[in-house]
Symmetry: C2
Subunit: 204 residues, 2 copies
Amino acid sequence: MIRKVLVSAALTGAMLTGIASYSMINAQENKIAAAKFNADGAVSIPQNWRQWVFIGTPLTPNALNDGKAPFPEFHNVYIEPSAFAHWKKTGKFANGTQIAKELVLIRQKDKDEMNKDGSTGEVSGVGYFQGKLTGLELTVKDTVRYPNEPGGWAYFSFGHSAPPYAKTAKAFPTDSCNACHEASAQDDFVFTQFYPVLRAVKPK
Amino acid sequence: MIRKVLVSAALTGAMLTGIASYSMINAQENKIAAAKFNADGAVSIPQNWRQWVFIGTPLTPNALNDGKAPFPEFHNVYIEPSAFAHWKKTGKFANGTQIAKELVLIRQKDKDEMNKDGSTGEVSGVGYFQGKLTGLELTVKDTVRYPNEPGGWAYFSFGHSAPPYAKTAKAFPTDSCNACHEASAQDDFVFTQFYPVLRAVKPK
């Protein structure tokens, strides 16, 4: 009886701190690879996100946004492979889905070689080229852990500077990211309108 | 004796048509996954290139190049994973290396919503967003099959239009691609100056 109570208390505690959601999501969602969370709720930096499935790169240069683009870098966006497989099969983002975006500065040259619009001239033409890596962000859909976040999506930053990035990150407040995703993203808070690889495999 | 001659003739024939190079490269280069070639020398479209390692996206819009950019689309560039592992270990492109680039049109809107520089305004700012998929190209380094191509690199196109792409492709003449790669690419005919993911893992 004592043991039963302890186990029950441990389970309740785990559920309150969110530890239990890790395996619950796995069970629910056909083995979607889950993000790792610490006891204090911080998420760990993903392993090998650059070997996840790349889905697209939006670019909004500062020079085209009065010098203050909300997102002045290239965003190389990746989805975790098991979540990609689920999307391909169902057209939905499974609970547990992880999407990472790595920030990349526009390639810079000496001042007199930079165009007013922030572009540079290279052998292949005038345009925008990927310079230095400068940050990593992550979003995780987890309706168990984040029942109060719209769609269950929480957003994290591992820093906006050159690697190495931070090893853990805490979720942003809802208004920082989710509000905009909710208003304008095409599929379940994800901007699939900017991600041709996701659109290409979405079931009809 | 007759059998021996036949085998010998078959081997010579295979080497002349290049079939033998497939396994020779594998043996030489620590199991680099080799491209598949038909008997007539055409290469087969890669399997699952979108799950290769993404390395970068250059963008040279038509509007910034007098309406006639040599490469007016986003280029999503990927390297085959075993070749990536070799690069990460050695800083060199192994014989057998495959690099694919998928072409993606800049997102279009109605004419009155398009800016002069070809950009569009979205919720995240004014810039360039990835629209429709529009082509696939491949380069293969194979000094056995292409002893006369500079660096052993041959270049292929599976079409410049929406998927599905062609199933096979023949190598371009050397001058079409290789000359420019030879003159301006930073590492062994590859434009690593535009590929932050390759630069990030290159051994020092």
